[in-house]
């Protein structure tokens, strides 16, 4: 059990001093190991109120994380909450870095530079990378994953895009110490005596429509036509209603034909020409089907992930959980079901932290057992250390 995790949380929003004091009281700084990093997931309110800034000033280690709609740890959960998870170890090293604001033009370069900065702080090549990615409507999540994958030489990448308070995701933020920005990527490169296990479930098979459409025209995550008709027309012909203000609740399932399971992806933006930008790349010649995300399916896949986490945790000491925020929304009116399930399964068994994600980054196993970095939506992603 190499890595330890200490968790602190607060729901105090009105008084920054009180909030920070409450957090610091929960961390025994005497118990920290040689190497430490802080993970933060919090509602945007904590950012807006200055609590995060004040916390950053008080902590003796880097603080990296994201905004979220809800979180759970230590047997409790809440929507408007700040959760601080301190990872510390003697034989595991953490090195952090952040990019500048990303766009389609500077993606590769910024990510490359950030990785190199993180790498310079480690004695060895990282075993894996924890990444907090920005939500950019013009860029699919997978484009950023691919860039970091290339920069890091296919090092396994686990992490998330943040989620905001509202359906427009305007309050999504990446947090890197005092840099809190909508468009930056923050990363923690981890090396040393650690063997992470990555777990992911998304849409159950019986919630995936059997009928598939052939992707006939696409460019990266920009999906233009399916079965030779504009993508939006294809989706609408199936009778699906697309909310112009929020269309992220329509799961698209993509089969990459490499022995791994189908990847669930969301619609990031809809264009006037009928094309869409998705969370991940949609290669021509691949097949697309629609999925359903409902209470039954969400809890079924959560249960599967939790079982796998418990199995992995027999040899490990920390569980970090990043389920997709759409799952939280679609559980309505029992929105807390998934967090309750996680608490029920893990509380008292292994230290855990759950924060809802706006887009999951999690490696998947190929048929030959090797990892391939992928971007997902609608998934329950976990990293057990």
């Amino acid at each position: 059990m190499s890595i330890k995790m200490f968790t602190a949380y607060t729901e105090e929003l009105d008084d920054a001093d009180d909030a920070v004091a409450e957090l610091l009281e929960q961390i025994d700084f005497e118990e920290l190991g040689a190497h430490t990093v802080g993970l933060i997931t919090c509602s945007y309110d904590f950012i807006e109120s200055g609590i995060v800034d004040e916390l950053v000033e008080k902590l003796p280690f880097d603080l990296v994380g994201m905004s979220t709609m809800a979180s759970a740890s230590c047997g409790v959960f809440a929507k408007y909450r700040l959760m601080l998870n301190v990872l510390t170890a003697d034989d595991v090293q953490f090195s952090t870095a952040v990019t500048g604001p990303l766009d389609t033009g500077n993606l590769d370069e910024e990510i490359q530079l950030a990785y190199e900065r993180a790498l310079s702080g480690l004695p060895d090549k990282p075993v894996f990378i924890i990444g907090f990615f920005p939500l950019l409507r013009s860029l699919g999540g997978e484009d950023m994953v691919i860039a970091l994958d290339a920069a890091s030489g296919q090092t396994p990448i686990w992490g998330s895009i943040g989620s905001g308070d509202d359906m427009s995701y305007s309050t999504c933020r990446t947090i890197f110490n005092s840099t809190i920005d909508q468009a930056v990527l923050a990363l923690i490169a981890v090396s040393g005596e650690v063997e992470p296990e990555f777990i992911l479930t998304s849409i159950p098979d019986n919630h995936i429509r059997n009928y598939k459409g052939l992707i006939t025209s696409s460019e990266g995550s920009h999906l233009k036509t399916v079965d030779n008709i504009p993508t939006l027309d294809y989706i609408r012909e199936l009778g699906v209603i697309l909310n112009p203000n929020d269309y992220t609740t329509v799961p698209l399932l993509l089969d990459n034909d490499d022995g791994s399971r189908p990847v669930a992806l969301a619609i990031y933006s809809m264009n006037d020409d009928g094309s869409i930008v998705c969370g991940g790349r949609m290669p021509e010649g691949a097949y697309l089907s629609l999925g359903m995300i409902d209470h039954e399916g969400i809890l079924e896949t959560a249960a599967t992930s939790l079982r796998e986490i418990l199995e992995a945790a027999e040899q490990r000491s920390v569980a970090l959980l990043l389920p997709c925020v759409t799952r939280y929304i679609m559980l309505s009116p029992q929105q807390d079901s998934e967090m309750l399930a996680a608490i029920g399964a893990l509380d008292g068994v292994v230290p855990y932290a759950l924060g809802y994600s706006g887009g999951e980054v999690c490696p998947m196993r190929r048929a030959d057992g090797s990892w391939v970095n992928r971007f997902h939506n609608f998934s329950f992603s976990a990293c057990v250390l």
Binding site: L13, D14, D45, M167, S168, G239, V240, N245, T249
Partner: protein, 633 residues
Amino acid sequence: MFEKRDATEQGELDSLSQEEAIALAKELSAAVERQASELKENQKESKRLAREVRHLKTEIDQERSISIAKANQKILETQVQRERDRYLQLLLASSQNIILMLDKQLHIAYCTATFIATIGARSEDEVIGRSLHEVIQGILEPEFMQIIDTGIDAAVETKSVKILHGQSRSKLTGTINRYSINVSPMFGSDEASAGILSEEAKVSTTTNPSWSVRAKGTPEQPGTQTDLVFEGVLLLFNDITELELAREHAEQASRAKGDFLSNMSHEMRTPMNAIMGMTAIGSKAQTIEKKDLAFSKIDTASRHLLGVINDILDMSKIEAKKFELSSAEFNVKELLQRIVDVNAFKINENAQLFEVRLDEDLPPLLVGDDQRFSQVITNLLSNAIKFTPEGGSITLTLAVEEQSDTSCTFLTSISDTGIGISEEQQSRLFHSFEQAESSTSRKFGGTGLGLAISKNIVELMGGRIWVESEPGKGSTFSFSTTMEIPDEEHEMASSTDVPSDSDNHDFSGYHLLLAEDVDINREILHALLEPTDIAIDDAENGVAVVERFKEHPERYDVIFMDVQMPVMDGLEATRTIRALGLPQAERIPIIAMTANVFREDIEKCLAAGMNDHLGKPIDLDLVLRKLNEYLPL
């Protein structure tokens, strides 16, 4: 607090004491602090309210998204369900089988269109929701329903598929149909159901259509086990009527073939026994007369055996669809004469009266397969001889029905005053492997193939064969055929043909080259032809015959060529001789001797360059005829 003071008041301020000024300042400061604090509180409150408003807006937006997402899911689910329903309807409409899905009360929940048609209903509305008994009872027999009821009981009790067999006459159509019925009980898991049912859970459909069979949980944990709940029964009816009929026919045919094989065995062993027995007797006989008698019986028996073998071979050709007719000109009267000659002995032996009536208008020459035509007449005639008692009469009649310049349709009839044939026996008469009845074969002998072969020959000739008969009064077998009439030139030519001198048995001065690998066959031919004084040189295979011929091409007048020989077969040897480039090689008659008498085998011989063929076993008369035909005068 801060009241506006005029100049007079300002003057009053100036007159305040220091203490009063300090007190006022403190009061002012406190007021400012209070204001600041209130402002801070207000700002805090304002922020909180703004936050809560934002949260509320978020909640509202979320609810809107959720309701749209749920609506989308509903749409997709409905679409999937609609497609499934559509394909289920297509399955039910398209399936050729009768498929019924019964619910827990054994009422019909689903059924195929075939079922609806079978029971004469107009649509599924007349059927869905009604009990199986109600729907089927008036149409199928009660015994059949009982079989189904029993099958359902058993299937549900054992929770396993049962396969039943039954037949029923439909009251709608009157036809009898046989069914193989798969009865599959359907159970679903029901975690909400509680408890263990008592033993009386199983109920027969004939007394109470309500089912509630459940799996047993443990007494300690009632309701916590997943109970199996009876959901209904799936019935799949396979109409096996045709299959069963085909099976019965196949069994019947198999039995008939078995009988036939048994009969054939007898038919072949009997003459073989005579041949072997008479051979032994003849070899030990001390007198020429006894030897001659033995050889005569061997001759009779071997001809009989050959007849049986030929019948079997003909039948094989028919079954393999390789039975073909040849076409050649023949003289009708001569053909009839040969037939009469062959059968005369038997007729005389039976003291039967025999008459031939030939229509005057029947052309003297016809074009057809004389051999097969003769075979049919011979078969019918030999039956008439066989089944007519001593002193009875037999009449062979050929009567013209229709005639033109080029063809003639005529009727050939053989009438007898024999034992006659019943109607039921007549229906089986022309089928292979069957005589009128099996006792006939025992009493009168025969392969039972003759009429089937005759029917085939007549039908290949484009005709029809039939029988009119009455038990005890005799029978008339008739067949009609159409044959071409040769044209006059040809007729003239044939009339000026050099008459074949089949009676000439003197071939001295002629030289025959015999290619035959089997010693005994060579010996037989030498012995048969010895009286003719023809010189014979032997060759044991194709290579030898070619060498012999090459050495002395002018010596030989005719070659008898066995087809199947080692080293080089007869076909190859013939091709080789014809390709030698010698004048004699091109013109010497080569006659095949072959046991293969299929048409294609004969055609292979002709294609190789042979002129004619002789079938084995060798018939001396035919050999002499061929020699007369091909040896130059």
